[in-house]
Symmetry: C2
Subunit: 119 residues, 2 copies
Amino acid sequence: MKGVVLFAHGARNPEWARPIEAIAAAMRARQPQTPVKAAYLEFIAPSLPEAVAELAEAGCDEIAIVPMFMANSGHTQRDLPALLELAVRERPWLALRLAAPIGEAEAVVEAIASYALGA
Amino acid sequence: MKGVVLFAHGARNPEWARPIEAIAAAMRARQPQTPVKAAYLEFIAPSLPEAVAELAEAGCDEIAIVPMFMANSGHTQRDLPALLELAVRERPWLALRLAAPIGEAEAVVEAIASYALGA
């Protein structure tokens, strides 16, 4: 079974998680059979290894990690690979697939452009 | 005339700016009469006051500032107001309007959800 982790930065204020949880909820509404978890680099739980462990325990053997970042940076190119390594250490049979950051997705770029023009 | 500033975090690698510039290009393609500038908090030029100055010199008297952030945090609630104050100090006639971060826009949430489900 395939699952998805939305990997986001996090912030001191737990309210920061709200849009990420809204994205997860929109995904569950569209495709209830796909388990989705948010995971945070800093300040907010769960961490990426924790979210991956929860999806594995729910029966996922293939997990897409989608960075909720506009572009690649140290967070996606240094922190994230280290976290992925931790996440598979105890479950080497897990297939983790790292997606491009959201700013690379044309439909996301178009949606942000529409929003910004209406702002 | 109204203009738009896309206010993004920035990163050491100048390549980071690519998706933000893609959003600006998509906006110009749709609405060529609206001047659009990207501005960065860190590492990449121009800064927010510089981008606002450029739009003012291009004839804008009203500028929407759209945070390219998933949610509000210290960057949008502390750094950004200080930069807006700097930006209007020499041009008190400018009307700057701060929009909600992209993660608050329902169409953006839906586009990210679609992308993540297909990842």
